[in-house]
């Protein structure tokens, strides 16, 4: 499991009046579980946008193996303002991410949706309108939608920020399970160092002007705190 999935080389990203990254380097291996830690505003979401191809680097490059097209990415965004009246059932919400031209879902596609609902533990409540679901159930539904296409890379953008402690671990257990059984590569952005410590295999600590990439094993939460400034 040492084949790289993404290699970031000498990446620089700058906005007018703001140099976010300068010479950022790291590699994500297939099947890895990488956490990105750092203070607010240090550029965590900017990095994700660059990885997703929504933002053009000002220097350096991001390499995808075998190619960018070949890598399907599932993304659980940080904010989704779905209110209490959001009408769709969890099942319908998850199937929004099914591509194709046919207006209805084929049998095989139904099975795909079913699998995503099952592994994220929302199958029992799939008929519930998403607006009526609890915070933890919503996050699991978002996760289900992100993985319904069986992506190689799963990105979680502060997905646990709004959850209480118990739900956080529940969600991350599911993600870890996906990482181990389906070998989905995980990129987990968080502020929560104990959580990062418990689940991730590698960390990328971002601080203004510098960064550190390394193995999680052997790092204590205090050491993580030191390298990330959180």
């Amino acid at each position: 499991m040492t084949a790289p999935l993404i290699a970031v080389q000498h990446l620089g990203i700058a906005f007018p009046n703001n140099q976010v990254f300068k010479d950022l380097n790291f590699e994500i291996q297939r099947g890895d579980f990488v956490t990105v830690i750092g203070e607010n505003g240090v550029g965590k979401t900017t990095l994700i946008r660059a990885l997703l191809g929504m933002l053009k680097p000002t220097s350096g490059q991001i390499k995808y193996f075998p190619s960018k097209k070949a890598i399907k990415v599932g993304y659980v965004p940080q904010f989704r303002n779905l209110d209490q009246e959001y009408p769709l059932t969890i099942e319908d919400f998850v199937s929004l991410n099914m591509r194709g031209w046919r207006p209805w879902l084929s049998k095989a596609e139904h099975r795909q949706v079913d699998t995503a609902l099952r592994v994220t533990n929302v199958k029992k409540i799939k008929q519930r309108p998403l607006g009526m679901a609890s915070g933890g159930e919503k996050q699991r539904a978002y996760l289900a939608q992100a993985i319904v296409q069986a992506p190689q890379l799963l990105i979680l953008d502060e997905s646990t920020a709004s959850l209480d402690n118990e739900m956080k671990y529940e969600l991350l257990d599911l993600v870890q399970n996906l990482n181990q059984t389906s070998h989905i590569t995980v990129l987990f952005i968080t502020h929560d160092l104990p959580l990062a410590k418990q689940y991730a295999k590698h960390y990328l600590a971002l601080r203004p002007g510098q960064q550190e990439f390394g193995a999680m094993a052997g790092m204590s939460v205090e050491q993580l705190k030191e390298v990330s400034d959180v």
Binding site: L52, F79, P87, L96, R99, P103, Y142, Q145
Partner: protein, 265 residues
Amino acid sequence: MFSLAFMRNAYLAGTFIAIICGTIGVFVIARNLSFLTHTLSEIGFAGAAFGIFMGWTALSGMLIFTVISSVIVGQMSVKQSRREASISAISALFIGLGILFLSLSNQTSSYATSILFGSVIGIAAGDVLRVAVLSGIVLLVMLALYRPLKFDSFDAIGARVSGLWTTAISVVFLVLVAMSVSVAAQIVGSLLIFILLTLPAAAARYFVHTVSKMIGVSILFAIVGVWLGLYLGYVTNLPVSFFIAAIECVFYFTALGYQRLHVGS
């Protein structure tokens, strides 16, 4: 009632209108565009007046005005904060233009009221055909775009991060809305168009919870409103638009009541 040609035409055209408004309304509501449909109906009024001024049909004038302006409004209101103000400015301008073209074309005020409030008697067989063809186009494009449109409308953030071409979808959708507005104006008039484009769909979302079922229920509410409205208008000799508006409001408020009973909020 059906022995009268104009009533048969009205029912036929009304059914097509109910079907596309019910369908497209589900996405209008999901995308929070109710206010925009209101503006488009005013723009439609100006377009109809322009069409008459030019000696065309009212429908052609409406189509041109609504399609062009929906794209402009769409471009202008990308920023949420600017949306309401820019839409208000455009609607004010177009109501003014509508009045201008009406007065230039030397039409009496009855013409204006039939554009604004719709006219059942005015629907000829040719109009029915035009409505049918336009409805067919709108429905076909919707079917072809169904999954991406659904994703973008019900989960804009998810659709964007998954790399969907969301800007293109918005523009195509606005054009579809503009076409529906122009078509629906035939029966309910440009002033009350947004009733059929918003209320049936807004009510449907409280009763059912998948996109396909919402479309079904929304079409049902729209059809019941149009059919019953036409019937009551025929029997009482009062404006059809009034009845359609009243019926759709009953559906909507019933839905709100149902929601309150059901979930207590």
